[in-house]
């Protein structure tokens, strides 16, 4: 589970962008499951000290390669950009419990910002001749969505809809708006009056069909967005798996640093380790506001 992987590529998605694609060749690809991540050593000295978790966005078993995407968020990811092709990186992985891969029906992937990355692995894992995949994706602005989308989602020929906070691309608003439109049929059946302040959204999102569907959903993004998305989906009767983020130390379940709170089947609160029990959890067990 501890490997030295060779760096095949480590480059910004566009000139000057703070979003990078990192391709690693080694043992991780052989067993990687969608939703799992790797825990990367970013430096050689003791500062920054800890490894950094990055989702596996794609894997090619034949070539033995995994593809990761990362955004330069601070010192650790900044150091990571300095690693050159042909150098090697110390990698723990693949780690964590990933997504359930549906065998049939429809799969809704709901992403906020860089939350798209782990969902890409799930999208690649489903048999698209049997599963209808649709991606709902929110981001800050066009520049972000285009930079990332061109390198990832857009060429996949998958159904998708986007929203931006500033309206510079797709729907002006949040990904929850897209989701509400997408689920309008289900929500209607549940007695919700349908999308508010998103007039015409059903069309935008391409949803709103009348017939009963077998949908599953998977979501990743900022916590607030995940909470809203999960709420909507569960309300609409759609099961959802969410990929959580938490600050990590060990990444393998030993330190209890990455706790989240879940409500177990018997209604009691319990802590789970995001790194080992997750990062993917059943949306209905997650307790969003952490309790003492």
């Amino acid at each position: 589970m501890l490997h030295r992987e060779t760096v095949i590529e480590n480059r910004p998605l566009a000139p000057g962008s703070d979003l990078y694609r990192l391709v690693l060749k080694g043992a991780v690809a052989a067993t990687a499951q969608p939703g799992q991540f790797v825990h990367l050593q970013v430096g050689v000295a003791t500062d920054p000290l800890l490894r950094r978790p990055i989702s596996i966005a794609g894997s090619d078993r034949a070539k033995g390669e995994v593809t990761l995407f990362y955004r330069v968020a601070g010192r650790g990811t900044a150091l990571l950009t300095r690693v050159r092709a042909e150098e090697s990186l110390s990698v723990i992985g693949p780690v964590g419990k990933g997504f359930t891969v549906p065998a049939a029906g429809e799969l809704l992937l709901v992403a906020g910002g860089i939350g798209l990355f782990p969902l890409l692995a799930l999208a690649a894992a489903v048999d698209r001749s049997r599963v209808k995949v649709k991606v709902l994706w929110g981001g800050e602005n066009r520049s972000f969505l285009e930079t990332v989308g061109r390198a990832t989602l857009f060429p996949l020929g998958m159904d998708y809809a986007v929203a931006t906070l500033d309206g510079s691309m797709g729907h002006r608003g949040m990904v929850t708006d897209l989701l509400r439109a997408e689920l309008s049929a289900e929500l209607f059946r549940k007695g919700e009056t349908g999308p508010q302040n998103v007039a015409g959204m059903a069309a935008v999102a391409g949803g709103g069909r009348g017939g009963q569907r077998v949908i599953a959903a998977a979501a990743c993004g900022p916590k607030g967005m995940l909470q809203a998305v999960t709420g909507l989906l569960l309300h609409a009767g759609v099961p959802v798996e969410v990929s959580l983020e938490e600050r990590m130390a060990c990444g393998v379940g030993a330190c209890l640093g990455c706790a989240c709170t879940v409500r177990t089947a018997d209604g009691a609160l319990a802590r789970k380790r995001v790194c080992r029990d997750g990062p993917v959890f059943d949306g209905k067990e997650v307790v969003w506001v952490d309790q003492d």
Binding site: L49, L50, G251, L256, D290
Partner: protein, 305 residues
């Protein structure tokens, strides 16, 4: 190649080698099995156990600091009953001596924990964590008041025949006073250091990073403080010392042993390099061979010459 004698005697506790893991950084020994066989180590120390299960502190529980990390896990653990029923049987299968870290919030807690640990299992010793607040004694940590520390050791001593390791907190004016107190209380071994109390503030929110506000600082950053305390305690008390605090390499381990540690604990380094304990063990062996020592215990305390 000459064979180096790696065995270590810590009072009545005889270990095959001096490299241990530090409590709270190695779970219950399961997680690192994917990397190597834990029975290669001298012993493994498990997460602190309290009488009742604890959910611990809300997130975030860890924060990075320069060459270190803060943790505020809040002693999350399954509690005594589940430990005995679920974890101990699994530990038994690891085929390695286990040190159980016991943590209490009252003298009664310590008494109960000591009395409940079987003396005929894989449990090789109890490590008495005195860094927790003494709830009945006004909330001050047992580990910062010599009299409370002595009492904790005394009561624990009365309820078990297992070797007792007193784990000292570095957040004190005079570590030697604390070492003498636990020696008087009947400790067989001293381990140090636990974490330094620290905190960070998140510039984005303007609030403390940790859910618990303050947390324990560990990792390479604290190494010079830990080496100093091992050196001081070695001069002042006769008990064998398990040194820890920032040990990441065999060089660090040698530093601790020269300062007076008869064994070393590897904590935060596990998170960075899961193979660290094994690499340290091999490095110690090579060091002894190259320096002409036949047994690793020969280097203990040499810096005091």
């Amino acid at each position: 190649m000459t064979k180096i004698d790696l065995t270590t005697r810590l009072g009545s506790l005889q270990l095959k080698n001096p490299v241990l893991t530090a409590s709270g950084t190695y779970g219950f020994g399961e997680e690192y099995k994917a990397f190597y066989d834990p029975s290669l180590l001298g012993a493994i120390t498990v997460k602190g156990i309290t009488p009742l299960p604890r959910r611990g502190n809300p997130a975030p529980r860890v924060a990075e600091t320069p060459s270190g990390m803060l943790n505020a896990v809040g002693l999350e653990n399954p509690g005594l009953e589940a430990f005995l029923a679920t974890h101990l049987p699994k530990l038994e299968k690891l085929n390695t001596p286990v040190i159980v870290n016991i943590s209490g919030f009252s003298l009664d807690d310590y008494r109960l924990l000591a009395a409940s640990m079987p003396e005929d299992s894989c449990i090789a010793a109890l490590e008495v964590n005195i860094s927790c607040p003494n709830i009945k004694g006004g909330g001050l940590a047992f580990g910062t008041d010599p009299r409370s520390a002595e009492e904790v050791l005394k009561i624990t001593r009365r309820h078990t025949r297992l070797p007792l390791i007193a784990k000292l907190s570095p957040n004190v004016t005079d570590i030697v006073v604390m070492a003498k107190a636990v020696e008087n209380g009947g400790a067989d071994i001293i381990s140090l250091i636990n974490t330094l109390l620290g905190m960070r503030i998140d510039l984005k929110t303007g609030r403390p990073v940790l859910g618990n506000i303050m947390g324990g600082l560990s990792g390479p950053a604290v190494l010079p403080v830990a080496v100093r305390m091992v050196y001081q305690v070695y001069q002042a008390v006769k008990l064998p010392i398990i040194g820890m605090g920032g040990i990441s390499s065999w060089q660090d381990a040698v530093e601790f042993m020269l300062a007076g540690a008869a064994a070393v604990g590897v904590g935060t380094a596990n998170f960075v390099n899961p193979m660290a304990p094994l690499e340290i063990l091999r490095g110690l062996e090579t060091y002894c061979r190259e320096q002409g020592y036949g047994a690793v215990r020969e280097i203990v305390g040499l810096a005091h010459r």
